[in-house]
């Protein structure tokens, strides 16, 4: 059973052992509107927690995607290259962007659970 954690910047990470898939929340995808482009990092790239991992564009907005945890990019979801609309269709499933090798599982404690994130959204 995988666990999902969220950031205040609306990224999620789904942890499976030492690895985790990263994407943006349904809420964020809805706010951005029709996604037209996702700029993905190169596999092998190392990132620190809350540093820029990827970038996402819609028709009228552009925003950075921050890494929920520190780690190394293992793979990226190449579907993004041709069909970035998958983020709108399935932000928290098929619309994952990057798979990370998590370097410090302790960092997950700084993130929100699904329930906490839903509560957080109500405060916005």
């Amino acid at each position: 059973m995988s666990e999902m954690y969220f950031t205040k910047e609306h990224e999620w990470i789904k942890v499976e052992g030492a690895k985790g898939k990263v994407g943006i929340s349904d809420h964020a995808a809805h706010e951005l509107g029709d996604i037209t482009f996702v700029e993905l990092p190169k596999p092998g790239k190392s990132v620190k927690q809350f540093e820029v991992l990827a970038a996402i564009e819609s028709v009228k907005a552009a925003s950075d995607i921050y890494s929920p945890v520190s780690g190394k990019v293992l793979t990226v979801n190449t579907v993004m290259d041709t069909a970035p609309e998958i983020v709108n269709e399935s932000a928290e499933e098929k619309g994952w962007m990057v798979e990370l090798e998590i370097s410090d599982a302790g960092e997950l404690e700084k993130l929100m659970t699904k329930g906490q994130y839903d509560e957080y959204l109500k405060t916005l």
């Binding site: 037209t36 482009f37 700029e39 564009e57 009228k60 552009a62």
Partner: protein, 448 residues
Amino acid sequence: MNDNHYCPHTPEEISEMLSIIGISSVEELFAAIPGELRAKSFNLPPGISEFETFDRMKAIAGENKSDMLNFIGGGFYDHIIPAAVDHLSGRAEFYTAYTPYQPECSQGTLQALFEYQTAICRLTGLDVSNASLYDGGTACAEAAMMALRVTGRNRIIIDGCVNPFSRQVLKTYLFNLDVDIVEIPPLDGQLNRNALTEMLDDSVAAVLVQNPNFFGCIDEFTELAAQIHAKQALLIASVYPISLGILKSPGEMGVDIAVGDGQSLGNPLSFGGPSFGFIAARKTFIRNMPGRIIGETVDKQGRRGFVLTLQAREQHIKRQKATSNICSNQGLCALRGLIFLSSVGKSGLAEMAILNRDKAEYAKSQISGIPGVTVLQGIPTFNEFTVALPQSADLVVSALLKKNIAAGVPLGQYYEGSENFLVVTVTEKRTRKEIDCLVKSLEEALCN
């Protein structure tokens, strides 16, 4: 009497507006500005009528020499402009509109710019074009910055045969960045390929060349492009659009980004501006393009329409992370470029290019007959060529100016040790008689 009749309100209307606002004088509107911040002086002369204004402007224009016979280029060229260009670009629906932010009521500008982008793509043999840049020099700088973004590297190599003004603009744009700019001095009027090969390594983002180059020489960059691509660097070529009527296109040579000044396409000399810069590139680089881009789409009923697209690259959305700071570009000048290209058309542009070269070749042969003058031989040229004079080109040029002939651009100011060299430009507008006049005057100047 109102001091400014372009402000149409009558005193009664002003009082009515003030009373609706709830104040008694216009001055009260400025009450938020503290007294100590107010202008202490404002010394402009009093206003005049439009008739007096036009007379003043005529007098100013009259202080320039108007009948100068131009054999000068340097990036701006004296070409024909079909009458339709002025009339159509002079339609107020075009020139008094602004950036087409609201596509439904700006389809005229948007479609025209889409057609312009298409013309630039076809001319350069590349996949994508933006809706114009400021001028040829800034286009070189934008292309270099684009290459820095694409490659993530920090070194730009510039061929010294590129227009010296454009080279300077590029260096000025980049001087506060952590970028290494290397210039390769020309070798006999051409790119020093050996020097380039030695410099080309994995730190190089792009190499900038020009065709035809500042000396007028035509080059072929296919092999060079392959060599540069082998290092995962980009080749940027600055090109003269009229020459593309016949010359191999940047796309055919493997160039990654083509740029240039569009003045020669239907824009008057106008003492240096406005003209426009163009930029075209391979499709993979589209997100790194600077400036506005027009894209085709449809409305709900499936009708074709055009919009500003990929705006998420731009300053109004991405602010400091934008691919460029460009807001206003040179839209109307690009429109003139499109009308010009549509007017001369496919065969006309080729014909015009041939006419330019024929005239220049005629001038070249006549000038090379002047005793003591040599013309660089062996390297093909388009409508400009370099001649070596037996004395300082500066002196000869200033002597000919007195006879209303701008005989060419002396190279001494731009290249050390080139004091006797002169670049002569001959466009389709110069008649055989005018060329003969140049040759005769040159001969006389050199005899004295």
